[in-house]
Assembly symmetry: C2
Amino acid sequence: MTSEFSYKNSKVITIGIVSELTGLTIRQIRYYEERKLIFPKRSEQGNRQYSFNDVEQLINIANKREEGVQTFEIRQDMLKEKRKKSGSQLRDELLRGQINAQFGVNKDR
Amino acid sequence: MTSEFSYKNSKVITIGIVSELTGLTIRQIRYYEERKLIFPKRSEQGNRQYSFNDVEQLINIANKREEGVQTFEIRQDMLKEKRKKSGSQLRDELLRGQINAQFGVNKDR
DNA sequence: CGTGTAAGGAATTCTGACACG
DNA sequence: CGTGTAAGGAATTCTGACACG
C-alpha cells in the first residue's frame, strides 16, 4: 500500500560513487555508518549500496561536521527528527484506521 | 536553464547492479551498448555508469527482445522517437526565441 | 545475430588494526 | 573523536576473442 517505487530511496549506488557525489572519503562514509548516521544496504558479498537519499543525508552530515558538530550530536538530532515523523505517521495510521473501519476496508496483510 | 538535478538521469549505477535490476546479463548489457541502444557514462578508469532512465530503457529493450525484435529494429524505433522529440524541442526553442526577442532577454552564453 | 565463456589484468571494496592528535 | 593508511584478500569490471548457431 505504501509501496511506490522510488528512485530516491533505491539502494543502488556503490561507495566509490557516493564518495565522488559527496566529496567525502570512503573512510569517512564508513565511519559515519559505524556511528549509525547512515545505513547502506549490503550486496550479497557485503558491498555497501546507497540511495540518493543517503547521499543527501551524507551531505547534510558533512555540513554539520564542518560546523564542528560531533557525530554523536548529529545522531541525537536525527533521532529527534525520526520521533517527530513517527508521530505524524502514527496519526496517519489512526486516521486510516478510522476510515477503514467506516468503509469496511479489508485489513489483513 | 534546463539544468534541474534529476535522480532519474544521474549516471551512478554500476553494471552489476543494473544487471540485477534488469535481469539481463552483463554480457547482454554491454552488447546493447555496442549496438548503440544504451549509452552509459564512463568513470575515470572506464567503468560503466548507468542512470535509472537507462535501467528503464534496458527493461524496454529486454521486452522487445523477448518478442523477437532485433537490436537493429529497436534502434530504428529509438531514432524515430528521438526525431519526434527533437521536433517539439525545436518548436520550444523557436517559441522561446520569439519571447526573448519580445522581452529583450540576454542571449549570450 | 545474440549470447556464453575463459583469459589476463586493473581497479574496487571489505575488514581489522595501528597511528595521530 | 575523526580520519589516514598499509595489509591481505575477495569480488568487480574491462577488453578482445573464440564458440555456437
